[in-house]
């Protein structure tokens, strides 16, 4: 959580100082901090019984941050430029749609579909949880 708080702090700083000074490079670093922040929350939430498998760590968690970083980098480097289109889209538009939108779908939605029963919410872990709470009174 400390890392998340530091990332939030840097994101606000980059937006504030970078926005006021029109320093697009600082704003770009703020965007990269966003990618780190999403990975931090992902790391904390995708654990099962306080452990994370290597599979989940690579895909979806780290890959999610990588896709976001690629999208932000291309958008930053192509911003406001007249360029040849890729599949009817400006390269920055293309990067946002493919690496951010589709990339996030692959590393969140598709991963949830593929890994739900084995890595996200395994039945045996849920049953263990049910057994643990069965012996206790409801919390009020």
């Amino acid at each position: 959580m400390l890392v998340a708080a530091v990332c939030w702090g840097f994101v606000i700083y980059a937006s504030w100082v970078g926005g006021a000074a029109k320093d697009n490079q600082l704003i770009y670093f703020g965007l990269l901090a966003c990618a780190v922040l999403t990975v931090v929350y992902y790391l904390m939430g995708a654990v099962v019984n306080e452990k994370m498998s290597t599979t989940v760590l690579i895909w979806p968690v780290l890959l999610n941050g990588i896709f976001q970083a690629i999208a932000f980098t291309i958008v930053y480097t192509t911003k406001g430029q007249k360029m040849d289109f890729i599949m009817g889209m400006h390269p920055g538009f293309f990067a946002a749609m493919v690496f951010f939108w589709l990339g996030n779908f692959v590393t969140a939605t598709l991963a949830y579909l593929m890994l739900f029963s084995s890595k996200a919410v395994p039945d045996d872990e849920w049953e263990r949880f049910q057994k643990e709470i069965a012996g206790q009174e409801k919390l009020h």
């Binding site: 959580m1 966003c34 538009f93 951010f100 939605t109 949830y112």
Partner: protein
């Protein structure tokens, strides 16, 4: 009355009437799920993944996405699209991060509302009360800001006056909300989600048949240019940070999604809910993108004159489509407004009936909660309509409360509270106070031109609340660490 861009046809009027009648019928059917406080205010553990997935997408996608979003695209290009492309995949991300723990809380305690979970996690009526005030205020403010949009839509669809439009739209919504509360909201939202998806296919067909899918006309147009077709758009670059961040991580802070996580029958339903919700929202976000660029294309090619009122961009595009497509798309717009409205009416009435009263030491007997909740739904609705119409500047100020406000009170409370044992009661109370005060103060300061951040203020309020909750948690230990209620331990091991 506004300029009539859409001519109300028998197809549009007929489809609208059928849509409303089916919504009312489903809402009344849902009464069988609303016999208890948990069912009426929360729909707790009652629905399958398909219903919850569609309902989540419908409730999250509001009038802003279908009317305001295309207007922003028309005016600024890609910048605002970051909100919607972040939000779709953010659904499953949110389910990965806190879905199972939110659902688990419904087994650990009796849950009807979000503040119920907060009270139990932090063992605090203060947390419950502040959260209830925050959720209620934001829900009323947000709903009020939708009233005029809804009125304009009904005016365009049916040709009735705005006053009659409001009466028809919100009257029919109330007709089923009074009967079935949140359960009715969830079931009708699922139906309305389907209506929205049908409308999306109409938009896709219309956009590609109209434009051919090539944006180079816009890039080469003297009225627009490359900044309108790149990946950053014409708004200041730092807005991409706020939009991409708050709308990706912030989805899991939206009550429209959070409250659905404990409404699934079993833990297995989380899978379909997360996937279908995200995919459905992802499809509906095409309306935001394609309608906005479609309107821009019409102007860039000279097929239409430039528009000044950004809310007209969506109607401009729809006016160029055929009769049946118009009916499909307009009904989708209506569904977007009604589904969000029904959820927020239920959220606000639940927060007042169950949580605020309880937090103040006047726990209403469970048997009477539903009756009082029904009265308060009417009060909330009247308040929203009155405020929306006659609130003047206050609506402009408080209408910005919404996504960012919700994220700033819920991310510390639920995301941090359910992921981090060390997150303490004192920290959350301070974070909530900061969030409520800052979210009201910032738009007032901006509106009166006293102070303005060079970025959307909610980035500051969400980040500030998280930072406060983190720092204070290191120095306090109420309901945290070794003081965490032992019944909570299994949740943290999930």
């Amino acid at each position: 009355m506004d300029e009539q861009l859409i001519q109300p046809s028998p197809v549009i009027i007929g489809y609208t009437i059928v849509f409303m009648l089916v919504s009312i019928a489903i809402g009344w059917y849902a009464n069988k799920f609303a016999k208890t406080a948990e069912g009426f205010f929360g729909g707790t553990k009652m629905f399958g993944g398909v219903v919850i997935g569609l309902a989540s997408a419908a409730a999250v996608m509001s009038a802003f996405g279908f009317i305001g979003g295309p207007g922003l695209v028309y005016k600024f290009g890609f910048t605002s699209i970051w909100m919607t492309i972040a939000c779709g995949p953010g659904f499953a991300y949110g389910y990965w991060v806190i879905g199972k723990r939110m659902r688990a809380m419904a087994d650990v305690t009796d849950v009807a509302t979000l503040p119920d979970i907060a009270r139990v996690r932090f063992q605090s009526q203060a947390v419950r009360g502040i959260l209830a005030i925050g959720l209620c205020a934001a829900a009323v403010a947000y709903l009020s800001s939708q009233v005029k949009g809804g009125a304009k839509l009904m005016n365009q669809m049916l040709g009735v006056s705005e006053e009659w439009g409001v009466a028809i739209m919100f009257g029919s919504t109330l007709a089923y909300m009074l009967v079935s509360g949140m359960s009715g909201s969830i079931l009708t939202d699922a139906f309305q989600g389907l209506v929205m998806l049908i409308g999306v296919f109409g938009v896709i067909i219309a956009y590609f048949s109209m434009t051919g899918g090539d944006l180079s006309v816009i890039m080469n147009s003297p009225q627009f240019g490359p900044t309108f077709v790149d990946g950053a758009g014409a708004m200041p670059f730092q807005l991409v940070i706020a939009f991409a961040m708050i709308f990706f991580i912030g989805v899991m802070g939206q009550p429209t999604m959070l409250a659905k996580m404990y409404s699934v029958k079993s833990h297995r339903d989380l899978k379909v809910a997360g996937i279908l919700g995200g995919c459905s929202y992802g499809l509906t976000s095409l309306v935001w993108i394609l309608v906005g660029y479609g309107a821009m294309w019409l102007v860039a090619t000279g097929a239409s004159a430039p528009i000044k009122d950004l809310d007209k961009a969506a109607f401009l595009f729809v006016s160029k489509t055929g009769g049946v497509l118009q009916a499909l798309v307009m009904a989708a717009l209506l569904a977007a407004i009604v589904s969000t409205a029904s959820f927020f009416i239920s959220l606000a009435s639940g927060a007042l009936t169950r949580d605020l009263a309880g937090a103040l030491g006047h726990e209403i007997p469970v048997g009477r909660q539903i009756v009082i909740g029904r009265y308060l739904q009417i009060v909330v609705m009247i308040l929203c309509i009155g405020f929306g119409y006659w609130g003047g500047r206050a609506v402009a100020i408080l209408g910005t409360l919404g996504w960012g406000f919700f994220a700033s009170v819920t991310i510390p409370t639920f995301t941090m509270g359910l992921l981090w044992r060390r997150c303490s009661r004192e920290a959350i109370i301070l974070a909530l106070i900061f969030a409520v005060v800052a979210n009201i103060a910032c738009p007032i300061l901006e509106n009166f031109k006293i102070w303005r951040f060079p970025f959307p203020y909610y980035l500051f309020t969400v980040g500030g609340a998280v930072i406060i909750a983190t720092v204070v948690s290191f120095f306090t230990d109420g309901a945290a660490g070794k003081n965490l209620p032992k019944q909570m331990e299994p949740v943290f091991k999930l």
